[in-house]
Assembly symmetry: C2
Homo-oligomer: 129 residues x 2
């Protein structure tokens, strides 16, 4: 038995870890690195359309800090920095497959639920309108 199923403290730890890795850009970067393999900074920047350099750097540093990616600097001109998933990052990528597939399969159900909810809301707002 690796862990008690209902240990509140463990739950909190796990939730914190998931909360840290489950943000928008981290997931997108993991997805991109899983699909493409190793990438340079600029390639990630283009693939993550809409991300700012600041967020890209920040997210990559956090991922590096948590051991999800490696950062390799080549001492050439112009500079070349390559990011690669570690085994830990690859494991996370696989672990997220289930959630990813769930989100793909159920995104319409969620959008439908939201639409219905919005309808009920507007009905409440104008009950006899």
């Amino acid at each position: 038995m690796l862990s008690l199923p209902s240990d509140p403290e463990l739950d909190r730890l796990v939730v914190e870890i998931i909360g840290r890795v489950a943000d928008k850009w981290t997931l997108l970067l993991i997805e991109i690195l899983t699909e493409r393999g190793d990438c340079r900074f600029g390639e990630l920047s283009r693939a993550c359309e809409g991300i700012s350099q600041k967020m890209l750097t920040q997210t990559l540093r956090a991922m590096e800090r948590d051991g999800l990616v490696t950062r390799t600097v080549y001492p050439v001109v112009p500079p070349k920095v390559v990011y690669a998933l570690t085994d830990l990052g690859l494991g996370l990528s696989k672990a997220f497959c289930g959630v990813w597939e769930w989100a793909e399969s159920n995104r319409e159900a969620i959008l439908r639920a939201r639409a219905q909810h919005a309808q009920r809301q507007s009905q409440q707002d104008t009950p006899a309108g």
Copy 2:
């Protein structure tokens, strides 16, 4: 074929959905509701130790809006409101099992990676002591 594996737009949609459902409190509430079954507001409040009423209400409303939980109000005194996972919510709960197990199994690896990273950082800060 349900989806192209590398459709950037789909990726974004999925990432947004995951980003919305993968926050700290949502995960904790899903965990609690999965473990305990239907819960009243107060019970969730106590189980999610540290959460404020505001965040609890806010998170539950978002979950209700996205069709993850149902909210049933009993017209009694004192008020009684019961929250229950929907099939969608239950599916998400199951989908997250993989990530949950990954986080449990690798939390020490992550903490170790961070510790090593912190060491390397302090070595860089004091290169010649």
